[in-house]
Every structure is written in C-alpha cells, then in structure tokens.
Symmetry: C2
Subunit: 343 residues, 2 copies
Amino acid sequence: MELDNRKQKILKAIIEEYTRTGEPVGSKRIASLLDIVASPATIRNDMAILFDMGLLEQPHTSAGRVPSHMGYRYYIDHLMVPSPISPKEMAAIEAMFNVRDPDPDRLLSDAAQALADYTHCVAISSTTTPPEVLVRHIELIPAAERTVIIMVIASNGAVKSRVCRVDFEVTKNICEFFTNFANARLAGKSINEISSAYINSLTFSVGDYTEVFTSLLTAIYSLCKEINDGQFCTRGMTNLLAYDEMKDFSKDLLLMLGKKERAIELLGDGNFDVRVTVGKENNSMELANASVVAVRYNIGPSRCGTLALVGPVRMEYPKLIPHIEYFARMLSELLSEAMREQP
Amino acid sequence: MELDNRKQKILKAIIEEYTRTGEPVGSKRIASLLDIVASPATIRNDMAILFDMGLLEQPHTSAGRVPSHMGYRYYIDHLMVPSPISPKEMAAIEAMFNVRDPDPDRLLSDAAQALADYTHCVAISSTTTPPEVLVRHIELIPAAERTVIIMVIASNGAVKSRVCRVDFEVTKNICEFFTNFANARLAGKSINEISSAYINSLTFSVGDYTEVFTSLLTAIYSLCKEINDGQFCTRGMTNLLAYDEMKDFSKDLLLMLGKKERAIELLGDGNFDVRVTVGKENNSMELANASVVAVRYNIGPSRCGTLALVGPVRMEYPKLIPHIEYFARMLSELLSEAMREQP
DNA sequence: TTTAGCACTCATTACCTTCAAGTGCTAAAC
DNA sequence: GTTTAGCACTTGAAGGTAATGAGTGCTAAA
C-alpha cells in the first residue's frame, strides 16, 4: 500500500482532526488545516482515492469522511509520530507510583487505576507465572487455639496466605509435623504441578492425620493456584461511558470486560512488546468498535505481565502509546525490585 | 396518611403492574386486574385522589399513572407482602456459597458478586471493625535473604500480611528482636489506636535499628489500617446498564459508585436491620432515580457489616428484600464461624 | 495535474396531521 | 352518597412533507 506524500498528509490530517472532534471531516477543513497548498477540490480527489483504498469511510454521501479501521491501522503503522512524555508528565506518573503503597500485590491494581484515570480508558493489568517458578517454602503459623495461618512462598517472591480454622488443637508439635510433611512433599516442586489430584493423593499419605490435615492441604492447593494464576485486574470501566460514539456499544463491551475469562483473551499471548489492535482486528463482536493497546513488561527474569488499555477507536494513540509504555517501564522496575528472585 | 381498602388495592396493583412492565398504568388495565368489581371510572376517581395525595405521578395528561417515590414508600411500609424464598432458591443461594472458596477475605466479595448476579442490581458489601478489636500478635517470617513477611493478627481473627524487602540480612536474631519489640509495643493495643504518629514515635525508640526497621513499622501501620478499615467491595456495576429507565442516570450513578468514599456514604450508619431508601430519599443527586436496600449483619460479637443493593426504583422489593436478608444471614453464619473471637 | 463551478445527495430540522391512549367532568343510575 | 356511562379533551408518538445546508462527484477549463 503506497501513498504519495500529499495523500499521507491528508490521511494524517483527517485522522487527527477526527480524533480531536469525533465529527466527519470535510475537504474544506482539511484544506485550511494542511500546510501544503491545495484546493478543496484537489483534496476531494485524493479523499476519493483514499476512500477507494478503504482507508476512509463515508457515513453518508453528503457528510465528510471518517477514517476506517484500516485507515487507523495505516496511521499507526506509518504516519503517527509518538509524542514524547514531558518531564512534567513523567513526574506526575512517578508521583502516582510513589505515594502508593509499595505492596507488590497492590502495585498492579493501583497502576491500572492510575493508568485508567490518566487515559480515560479501561486499564487491565495482569501477570502470569512461568512454569519454572517453584514452591520455595510452606509455613504454618498458629494464630489461635484452633486457627492457623498457612502461607506459601514461591521462588519468584510471590507470597500468599490464608487463615484456616481446623478441627484440632494447634500445638507446636502438630505444626512442626505438618510443616515438615508439607515441605518434604511440596517444596521445590514447580508451582503449576501442584494439581488438585496431587494434593488429594497427599491427603491419604498423611496416615493417621488424613482428616485433620485435609483442609490445610486444600488451602495450600488454593494458594498455589492463586500464585500460578497470577494477578488480573480491570479498572476504569466507567470511563467508557463518557464517549458518545460508544454509547451503543459500551454496554456489551462493559459486560464482556466484566467477565474475567473474556477479558483475559484480549490480552493475547504476550508475544509482543507493544500491540495495537483496532476495531474488527480484535476478532470480537464487543470490541468491533474499540481499540486495544497492550504492552508487555517483565518482572525480573522469571515473570512477565501485560498492561492493556481498552478505549474508543478514536484514541489519542501518539500520546497514549508512550504513556502506557512508561507505565509498563515503571511497573517493571518496581516489581522487579520488589520480587527479585533470590538464592 | 389513611387509605381505604380499595385505594390501597389500586395503589398496590399500579405499583406491581408498573414494576412488572415499566409502563404507565391506566385505569382500564387496573379494572381488569383487580379482583374487586369497580368500573374504570371509579378507579379513575380514586387514582385522582391518590395523585392529589402525591402517591402517583402522571408523565403527561394522556398517559396512565406511575407510582411516585412517595407511593413506593407507602407500598414498602404498608402494602408489600414479602414473598418467602422457596426451598429451591435457598438451595441455589447456599450452593453459591458452598462452591466458593471459604477464605473469609473472599467470602465477602464472592457474596457481593453472587448477590449482584442474582438480583441484577449493584451489590455492595462491607465490614467495619469496632474499636474493641485489638492487635493480638505480630509475626515476622523470613522469606529470603533480604525479604521478610510481616503479619498482623487481630483479636477478631482478621489477618493481614505483606512481603517486605529490607536492607539488612535477615537473621534469626534480628527477627526475634524485632518480633519482641513490635509485640511489646503493639500487641494488646486497640487496632484503631495504631496511628501513623504512634508508629513514627516507635521508629525512633528502636535505637540503633531505627533505619533498618522503619519500613517494617510502616508496613505494620498499613496492615493495621487495612484491618481497621475493614473490607469494602462493589460488584455488578454493569447490571445497571440493562435498565432502560435508568439510561439517562446510570452514567453518573456508576461514576459515583466507582468512588469508594461516595459509595460508603450510601451504606449509612449501620443503625438498622433492613433499610430501604427510595429515589430522592437518598439525598444524593446520583441516587435520585435509584433505590438502595441495605441490610446489616453481624460477624460474631465484635464486628458487623452491611450488605447493600442499588438498583432502579422499580425494583422487585417483595422478592429482593427477603433475598438480601437471606444472603446476609448466610454471610453472618459463615463469617462468624470463620472469624470467631478466641481466647 | 490542479482547480473552479455546479448539480446532486442526504441527514437534519421544523412543521403539520393523524392516531390512540387515557384522562376529567357531567349527568344519570344505583 | 357512591358508582358508572358517556363524551369532550389533551397529549405524545408516528408519519409525511418541505426547507436547509454541508459536502460531495463530476466536468471542463486553467
């Protein structure tokens, strides 16, 4: 797909004007906007060609032109000039991260919230746990007479705990016995190997204690599963309601984003650095009128995550892409530090 | 406000028919619906009186009548017959609770989700921590060379933990020292007394260790604050989008519910068993066209929570009120068991 | 290749009419 | 006194028509 210089400028101008106003753009407006000298008629000719190429659309004969999803694709791939983040904005973003709590579990959801607030889009953040993460240690802490806290620590620094009520009196002996037993069977195992079936098989090998320990082992399974599933959160859903052009679609889109398994789909396989998918490229009914900007980030050597933005096709890509990348970089640094793999 | 028998029946019929259809109800329809024999003209006379009393409204002269918020108030207080939950529904609700994870922290959010799914409204659940809850114990668990897990256990069974990276090598001695120090100063104190200022004062009294322990003490403060703040979660926001009559208001309402401090307001002071507020009774712009059903529940002797439902004024009160009450009862039982106060 | 000119298209708006639902009032019936 | 039938009246919704104007596509000249 080759476009001569003027057509490129015209397409770029139409997209940027449409992004700004949300209204179809006419030849006259472009003529006054462009720095090149060309009459509206000339521009009309070029617009007709861009239309034939599928880069523009026409709501109806007597309206101006609107960029098609293909037009946006061309713009993102060839025309867009990313606008660098100003030091002021950088400081603002850093401040958001700094005032927040440094708890890794929260960092992700706070970042999503901040990103959503900042971009007025829906922000999704997630992490995945790769198979090489191991169970490092299992700890049992007596909390009260018949209550223990069970804690799973993974090799990548992830920690999950749960309060467990048990049917027996919690003595130092029992705790020690169980801790030894659990660590002997589970520590060093890959976290994604801890299946429900494996835990079941363990329950029977505790001998006399089978009944007593079942609930503890089940809790360990849940905790491992939580670590293995990674984190996932969606913020700023209500932001979508502010876009007039989405009012017919936002309901379905919001319902879809509300379903975790559907929302995870749109993050893709994480096999990219930055990925922008426009409208129908998303292969999903609900996203046919939305765009998704996804960025991958690393957390230390053994874990990675995805940060994504869902918003109207008419998104300020040149501004938002550098922003989400900066968010991802900050998150990467902070989480890598917080969860650094240790000997 | 006294209404004769027929007027009561007419008001009840109008409200129930309007709740069902969402359309203004005319005198003819009521005549065919009512079991009492009365002509449309008679009903029209009564409707005119109900209208004068402020219990009905008229969208325009040639339309039927619509219940006013005052009409709903009268209905809820005097006319409504709560429909008991069927054993089948009870079983369905119990099943929801059973298949879910028994973790107390999750129970609340799962219950809100289930309630939202069940009622097609927004569900809010929250717990508050009363001042008599104490810090029972603080535990420090070494997780890796420079990483510890810090854990606060409260007298009401609440447990919160956080991973902390520290600047020193974690030895058994240091852990013991810090655990002793922290417990000496904090255990037994009321959880809401652990202020930022108090923690600050502690940091200086650790002597040589001031710098090393600052991050740990800050973490303790956060954890106490989390316990003291209780839990709060909102689920099913997108449900509101399904109501045609709310399409003009749902945007503002959703934005408001998205703000925690605003959403907390509408739970009220918890000084009630069941509370229904209709439309303008809510004293909030955004809720002027919505109703809130709030139920209080107890968690053991020392903690209570609120479960609330936000939906259209045209809500199926007779069905939903018993349902949310049943949810609250279930929650109360399960949480009381899970978090029972212990010696 | 570019541009001016002009006929043409079509959404939007305003205005009008018709239609139907439902009311309020009056006078008769119970 | 209460209830009811009858009927004029009101009003939003739906449908049709005309005027408006923004913006196009095409043609022919520059």
